[in-house]
């Protein structure tokens, strides 16, 4: 243990559990959840449309089966897109 750590321990400062950082991280997570819950349906629809535009430049996809949504767990939120590819274009660009 470094001397500064001992001093920190002595002054009750545990670098690992700085309560400000705990607060900030909890806040970040809770806001991701809140904002995801408050996300209007049309935002996801717009996102879907733009994704199709970009992806079809590079490959043919089954647009009807395309599925875009948010999945939530306790520690993170992920944007999950399931995009069935029909054919990859040969000459892109």
């Amino acid at each position: 243990m470094a001397f500064s750590d001992m001093i920190n321990k002595f002054f009750g400062k545990d670098q690992v559990a700085n309560s400000k950082d705990v607060a900030k991280e909890r806040l970040r997570l809770v806001l991701v959840h809140d904002r995801a819950n408050a996300l209007p349906e049309d935002v996801l629809l717009a996102l879907r449309e733009e994704m199709i535009k970009v992806i079809t430049k590079y490959m043919d996809i089954d647009e009807g089966a395309l599925d875009v949504g948010l999945t939530k767990s306790d520690t993170e939120i992920a944007l999950v897109a399931n995009i069935p590819v029909v054919r990859i274009k040969r000459n892109v660009g």
Binding site: S4, F11, K13, D34
Partner: protein, 264 residues
């Protein structure tokens, strides 16, 4: 034509009413014509914070019901000739005030005053929607706690959805020592998360309690740190450039020792 500012927070107890009283009084001290409107019907408090509770005869519900004229319900402040209060009703049905009433009221008031400051109730229901209905700009008050910042984020989203773009933030009750010790979120932490413009920071200050006891807003107290913070905020509202106040206090011996050994 004046400006209508709504002071809101979502969470209760973060200092909406104190902020309203101090900003209103601060603007009056700068010579502006100011009216404050308490929209917390059934739980009115602004009258007490301003020390005007014994002068109320008519209130906002009387005005919208037509029991009296608007002028009759406005209470002139005891210190500033150019400052008025339109009190909330304490005992009447709050559903009698609608968003249309509030819009009409705001139009009427801003024709005569430079600033109309609306004190919003806690929550996001009927009272909140009424309070923001006639507003031109919004000020969101928060404190450095997870719960308050979360509610501030929700409120900012709702304000933007109702067309009140770019609300300004006041961070209240900052405790410098705790921030320095890493036990309280700093201003930067909150600004990073909320991503709105900062209107001001207010230190946690005993003089606020004393001034509220007396019914005299701290902004009138030259020696109050919180009062200084609110004086800065009001000057920013009228468009002056005022640097953020330094909340650094003199470090104690132990703090210096800790700094020496590289602790946060």
């Amino acid at each position: 034509m004046g400006e209508v500012l709504v002071i809101t927070s979502g969470k209760g107890g973060v200092g909406k009413t104190t902020s309203t009283a101090n900003i209103g009084t601060g603007l009056a001290m700068l010579g502006k014509q100011v009216v404050m409107v308490d929209t917390d019907i059934g739980l009115r408090n602004l009258d007490v914070v301003l020390g005007l509770e014994n002068r109320i005869v008519y209130d906002i519900v009387d005005v919208v019901r037509g029991n009296c004229r608007l002028k009759q319900a406005l209470i002139k402040d005891k210190r500033f000739e150019n400052m008025f209060l339109l009190p909330a009703a304490q005992t009447k049905d709050k559903t009698s005030v609608t968003e249309e009433h509030m819009k009409a009221l705001a139009e009427q008031l801003k024709a005569e005053f430079d600033y109309v400051i609306i004190d919003c109730p806690a929550g996001i229901e009927h009272g909140f929607k009424n309070a923001i209905a006639g507003a031109d700009h919004a000020i969101v008050v928060t404190t450095p706690e997870v719960s308050a910042v979360r509610d501030a984020d929700r409120i900012i989203g709702l304000l933007e959805a109702s067309g009140l773009e770019s609300p300004k933030l006041i961070i209240n009750r900052i405790r410098t020592k705790m921030v320095q010790a890493g036990d309280m979120m700093a201003v930067d932490d909150m600004m990073e998360i909320l991503a709105v413009d900062l209107l001001g920071i207010v230190p946690d200050d005993d003089t606020i309690v004393i001034s509220t006891n007396r019914g005299e807003p701290a902004v009138t107290d030259e020696d109050s740190k919180a009062g200084q913070a609110y004086r800065n905020i009001t000057r920013r509202i009228i468009g002056e450039e005022v640097p953020l106040m330094s909340l650094e206090e003199k470090q104690g011996f132990l703090d210096k020792l800790k700094t020496l050994f590289g602790s946060k």
